[in-house]
């Protein structure tokens, strides 16, 4: 772990109109980490990720990526810099084929060979996608769509991968499969991961560090293990 955070939020205030979604949120992600943000529904987790990606503009505060402020940068210019998000609900392009979805992940890239190689790599990670490469994204099951969404994100060659609720609506066995792959991506490719989850148990087991977000504010920050054994967390988020 180096000293310089690869991604840093400094005093972010954000909102949709009069609704304040984030209040003074600051967090740091170091290269190679898996950081989890846990919190209840509506705590501002997705807004945090959308603010990082420039889809939501913060009212105050600044997002730094590799030491540079990126708040003013258009969202479409961030993936080429290595910042990519798998948004909540997966947002597969439903009327494009699996393969087209993956190709679009590499939209900004010109290295034809590299793209083909990476598509192959995604099919190795998720063999089911290879079997369904000519099928429309909208015809896939929830789990397959999540795999496709992650695969599509990998096609952008991310340095930092933001994952929004990858477990949402999936069967436990699929969830485990997906979290194994996420761990692989972190370990094998060295991709930094910022994970947002309602499923605190799952997220904290996968993560090295964690933040707790409550009604738009960071209330707790600690090592993932420590949070997992924190009695308050266990009570509030782990149903004990």
């Amino acid at each position: 772990m180096s000293d310089q955070p690869i991604l840093e939020l400094k005093n972010i205030h954000s909102g949709y109109g009069s609704i304040k979604a984030l209040r003074d949120v600051s967090l740091k992600v170091y290269p190679g980490e898996v950081v989890a943000i846990i919190g209840a529904n509506g705590a501002g987790k997705s807004t945090t990720l959308m603010t990082i990606c420039g889809i939501v503009s913060p009212e105050k505060g600044e997002v730094y990526y590799q030491g540079e402020p990126i708040t003013k940068i258009n969202p479409e210019n961030l993936p080429p810099m290595g910042l990519c998000q798998v948004p909540e609900g997966r947002r597969i392009f439903p009327r494009l084929t699996v393969e087209e979805n993956l190709i679009l992940g590499a939209f900004y890239r010109d290295d034809q060979e590299g793209i083909l190689k990476d598509i192959k790599h995604v099919y190795e990670l998720f063999p089911v996608l290879g079997e369904r490469s000519k099928q429309h994204g909208g015809t896939l099951s929830g789990g397959e769509q999540q795999m496709l969404a992650i695969g599509r994100a990998l096609m952008t060659k991310p340095k930092v991968l933001l994952l929004d609720e990858p477990s949402l609506g999936l069967a436990p066995i699929i969830i485990h499969q997906i979290f194994d792959i996420i761990a692989d991506i972190n370990k094998n490719d060295g991709t930094t991961i910022l994970l947002v989850e309602q499923n605190a148990n799952l997220a904290l087991k996968a993560a090295t560090r964690g933040y707790v977000l409550e009604t738009g504010e960071i209330t707790l920050e600690d090592k993932a293990d420590a949070l997992l054994h924190n009695p308050e967390i266990r009570k509030a988020y782990l149903g004990e």
């Binding site: 889809i55 210019n77 998000q85 948004p87 679009l104 939209f107 429309h136 096609m155």
Partner: protein
């Protein structure tokens, strides 16, 4: 000239000028002025058949109408694509789209007259045609990009009604711009282009129709290739489906929207030249009626659906030609609108809307 060719002259009460005479066109315009009925201009139709006496139940007549219908339908399809693609990407009915068609017709007449005047049209017909079409399409593409930036982009976050009204305003603005710069009278296309045709019994396919059909076919195939086989086309379809997600995979929706407008206007411009060649002249307000008909075609095919727009265009063209041929020529504009109203009333999603989603933008 074919021996059975003759001309019928009728007064067009629609205030539309459609010159279609090899020579003497200007004389007739002057005649119109002489009678001081400059908005009630003589309409000249080149017919191989006398409408009063033709046997409409014979097969030749049917096939002739079929060919005319496909020709006109292809032109409507080219215009309809612009409506449907823009709708697919930003959910806006671009009412100014007909003006790109008109502008294309004008750029075409300017360059084709220029080339004809220099005599290049005889020596290098292919080069001149390609250049004229290319220049008209490029001009309209840039015009459309400009229109989008000025009239629609600032309203993208506002209600859809705001952009719709802006489109109507743009339409009036562009149409009047054409009138002020090019005049209120129609401009004749060089008359010596593409005379004659092929005869199969009583059926005639003019060389001009062949040119229009081939060119329309090439453009439609090219568009299909672009939208369904290239990365840009993929990005265009993705933007139509989910703009936020597109941005998250580095697709700039502004660029895609500009591209969509450019392609749609380019196709409309090509259609403008075709209509100019087909009817012999262009006029500043020529975009209005074909624009609404092409819009009807897009709705009929299922707005947002590319294949639907092509099919819808062909159907509208056919219905118009057959309706004019078998029912009444006076009511030819009415048929398209009967279809529009019927589709909106009975099946607003159109024939290819919603269910067949493969070919949506």
């Amino acid at each position: 000239m074919h021996p059975d060719r003759f001309f019928t002259v009728e007064i067009d009460t629609n205030f539309h000028i459609r010159g279609w005479l090899n020579a003497g066109h200007d004389r007739l315009i002057k005649m119109g002025k002489l009678f001081r009925v400059h908005s009630l201009v003589l309409r000249i139709r080149k017919n191989y058949y006398d409408h009063q006496n033709v046997k409409k139940d014979n097969m030749d007549y049917f096939i002739q109408q079929l060919i005319n219908g496909i020709t006109l339908g292809g032109i409507y399809a080219l215009i309809a694509l612009g409506y449907t693609m823009v709708y697919g990407v930003i959910q806006l009915i671009n009412f100014a789209h007909g003006e790109f068609f008109a502008a294309g017709g004008y750029v075409g007449v300017i360059f084709l007259s220029f080339f004809t005047g220099l005599g290049y049209m005889e020596t290098y017909p292919v080069v001149c045609l390609t250049a004229s079409f290319g220049l008209a399409m490029a001009y309209c593409a840039y015009l459309a990009i400009g229109v989008e930036k000025i009239a629609y982009k600032p309203l993208r976050k506002e209600s859809r009604l705001a952009a719709l009204l802006s489109a109507l305003g743009m339409s009036i603005f562009l149409s009047n711009g054409l009138m002020l710069t090019q005049g209120v009278y129609d401009k004749a296309y060089p008359s010596e282009l593409f005379q004659g045709g092929m005869h199969f019994g009583m059926v005639t396919v003019s060389y001009l129709q062949v040119l229009i059909l081939v060119l329309t076919g090439v453009l439609l195939v090219a568009l299909n290739f672009l939208v369904f086989k290239t990365k840009m086309g993929m990005a265009m379809r993705a933007t139509a489906q989910d703009k936020t997600m597109s941005a998250l995979v580095a697709i700039s929706s502004n660029r895609i929207i500009s591209l969509t407008f450019a392609i749609g206007a380019g196709l409309a411009a090509a259609a403008g030249i075709m209509v100019g060649l087909y009817y012999g002249s262009v006029r500043y307000d020529m975009g209005f009626i074909p624009g609404i008909k092409a819009f009807s075609a897009a709705v009929l095919g299922g707005i947002g659906n590319i294949t639907g727009a092509m099919v819808g265009g062909l159907i509208i063209g056919m219905v118009e030609v057959f309706g004019a041929g078998y029912i009444s020529g006076e009511y030819k504009d009415v048929f398209a609108f009967i279809i529009l109203i019927s589709v909106l009333y009975f099946k607003p999603t159109g024939i290819m809307g919603e269910n067949i989603d493969d070919t949506r933008v």
